[in-house]
């Protein structure tokens, strides 16, 4: 009896000791978790740049261009075989092949801007003028009905290969684009978690990410799965853009919206900490100007000058908030 009492009492005291010890440990665990979250925002820009790595997207775009070049060059070869007098057309395909190699080089170098500029200013005009030039030459060569029929059959056969090639390239482009979007939104989530840990109201930012998924990433993914040819795929890709990359009115402008919502939330939290004593006049004016620019842009594609107006104001607001926080009594 006495032994049992002894064992029971010993166990009871051991439990009490553990409880008292645990009470001392828990607060320090919570503190260390907050401390680690506080460092989240430090490498924000670097993390976003890494997440937005578009080398795979560029590679798919180069693949799509190769499909067009190969089809066009093959068509010109077929015309030459059938009508040797039109051998001068070979120089056209030579130019196109050379330009395609240059684009591939830019893609390998991951140089998005040079790739895009060269594609728009050099490759596209070249390809645009080849079609009418070849057809005009064929018409002026007065081909027999039989020769025309042979050319058409060869064209249709090449066209099928081109359809397969372009479908594969655009599908790969869309998949890579979705992956990049996911990488970028994951970085925004990290930023939201960090701000949450600082007690900032992140509901507006979270809401933006949810809408981005509902309005852009989700439909893009669904459209990709439903498309059976490159034309359908191209339409889907060109109608769902998370940033500013659609030439149609289908851009969500997430980066600008997210940064504006973030700066608003940080100002609100700072004012609540400092009992409304911080002078955010400059920042508020810049955010107002950025919001106005964004409202006028809507979902359109913005050009370089509008880009400057929008992002200059966002950047200036960020600097103005930093300056105001450095002298929180409004001085």
């Amino acid at each position: 009896m006495a032994r049992r009492t002894f064992v029971f009492l010993s166990a009871l005291s051991a439990m009490m000791l553990c409880l008292a010890f645990a009470a001392n440990i828990v607060p320090s665990t919570v503190y260390s978790s907050i401390s680690s979250n506080a460092s989240v925002g430090l490498n924000y820009r670097a993390a976003l740049i890494a997440a937005a790595d578009n080398s795979k997207v560029l590679s798919s775009a180069a693949q799509f261009i190769s499909c067009k070049t190969n089809f066009t060059a093959t068509f010109i070869d077929q015309v030459n075989d059938e009508v040797p007098s039109l051998s001068n057309l070979t120089s056209l395909s030579g130019n196109l092949l050379q330009q395609t190699a240059q684009l591939q080089l830019y893609a390998n170098e991951k140089n998005y801007s040079l790739f895009r500029d060269y594609m728009i200013s050099t490759y596209n005009p070249e390809l645009k003028q080849i079609g009418p030039a070849v057809l005009s030459s064929i018409r002026s060569a007065n081909l027999t009905a039989n020769a025309t029929a042979i050319l058409r059959a060869e064209y249709n056969s090449s066209r099928q290969s081109y359809a397969n090639c372009s479908f594969s390239a655009v599908r790969s482009y869309a998949l890579n684009k979705i992956q990049t979007y996911d990488n970028i939104t994951a970085q925004y989530d990290v930023q939201i978690s960090g701000l949450d840990a600082q007690g900032v109201d992140t509901s507006a930012m979270s809401s933006l990410l949810q809408n981005a998924t509902a309005q852009v990433i989700g439909p893009l993914s669904q459209g990709l799965n439903k498309s059976t040819n490159s034309s359908q795929l191209l339409a889907v890709v060109r109608q769902h853009c998370l940033f500013n990359e659609c030439s149609s009115a289908s851009n969500y402008h997430l980066a600008a919206r997210f940064e504006i919502a973030k700066l608003d939330a940080i100002m609100a939290k700072a004012q609540s900490v400092a009992n409304g004593t911080i002078n955010f006049t400059n920042a508020t004016e810049s955010i107002g100007a950025a919001n106005s620019a964004l409202a006028s842009i809507g979902s359109s594609h913005y050009n370089q000058s509008l880009h400057l107006v929008l992002w200059d104001n966002i950047t200036y607001a960020s600097k103005a908030i930093r300056a105001a926080l450095a002298r929180p009594k409004g001085g």
Binding site: T5, S10, A52, E245, C246, I321
Partner: protein
């Protein structure tokens, strides 16, 4: 004789247990008091309040970096030029 020894042994065990409990209870009370003391901190001095506010504001500044997404700010690289049509 043996029963007496047993009785004596039992009393000794209970005595030892009692002392252990007493020591542990005192230790637990001291630890608890220490925890409560750290949890319910005394009202802050005005200077401490200012420092706390500055610290919270300083923590916010690291989230002030803003950036556009590089390469997604000026358009698509997906070519839109069509290939030649059928002869």
């Amino acid at each position: 004789m043996a029963a007496n020894r047993n009785k004596h042994k039992n009393k000794l065990l209970i005595g030892i247990a009692g002392i252990i409990i007493l020591i542990i209870a005192v230790a637990a009370l001291l630890l608890g008091a220490q925890t409560q003391q750290s949890a319910a901190a005394p009202p802050m001095h005005p200077m401490q309040t200012v420092n706390s506010t500055l610290s919270q504001l300083s923590n916010l500044t690291q989230y002030l970096n803003v950036t556009d997404i590089p390469n997604y700010d000026y358009g698509s690289v997906l070519d839109n030029q069509t290939v030649p049509s059928s002869p």
